[in-house]
Chain length 130, copies 2
């Protein structure tokens, strides 16, 4: 088997493909943040769920993220995930947002020992201007 | 002014330039990890301090890291820092390790409200093979 975080990310990707946003929210910490696009951040589940709703609308409901290679750097109750992420959107061929990304995710272990996503930044270091 | 984490990173960079490893360790959580180079991770202060000692020896004691642009993504007591990092090493001109990097650092706030570095990965998403 692999790292439990790999399983969680796979399940979250499946929830996005199924447009099951209630299930998707189970993977986030209450105070998590999502980088919606460079310069735009959704804060907390109350902003992340509607943000995903708008992202799915933008992609006409056809969005299938998947992760190829992943590197997990774990320090106690904190983990940094580096991922080669693919975002397949069959109905949308002219988006300015890249289909292939080097993503950075931060996970935190809660008191029950469960990993939750605290920072979801699929744009990785591309947020830097250089 | 700016984010307190920016000040901490500046002070840590100064401690490296001064080869003051005792002071440098103040910026790390006890269970922090440092990516020494791709594939090599130092775990905990007891490994990070000797790892920095070897890094400084490798660079013949002349290592001056600095950060240009930084993006800080903060979620409660966790923060992901993306940084355009420069590593000046005037006495070492033939190193295979890049002088210019897109780094990823994870900081965690402790019970006293102080930010500490939990994950120090100056190689960013370059750790992915793609």
């Amino acid at each position: 088997m692999g790292h439990p975080i790999k399983t969680l990310i796979k399940q979250a990707d499946e929830a996005i493909a199924l447009q099951d946003l209630k299930k998707l929210m189970d993977f986030y910490a209450d105070d998590a943040i999502l980088v919606v696009k460079p310069g735009v951040v959704a804060r907390g589940k109350e902003q992340i769920e509607p943000a995903f709703h708008r992202i799915l609308e933008y992609y006409r409901g056809e969005m299938r993220p998947s992760q190829k290679e992943m590197v997990i750097l774990e320090a106690g109750d904190t983990a940094l995930v580096l991922a080669h992420t693919m975002v397949e959107t069959p109905l949308m061929t002219d988006s300015p947002y890249p289909a292939e990304r080097k993503a950075t995710y931060v996970f935190r272990k809660n008191k029950d020992g469960d990993w939750l996503c605290a920072i979801d930044n699929s744009y990785g270091t591309e947020l830097l201007l250089l």
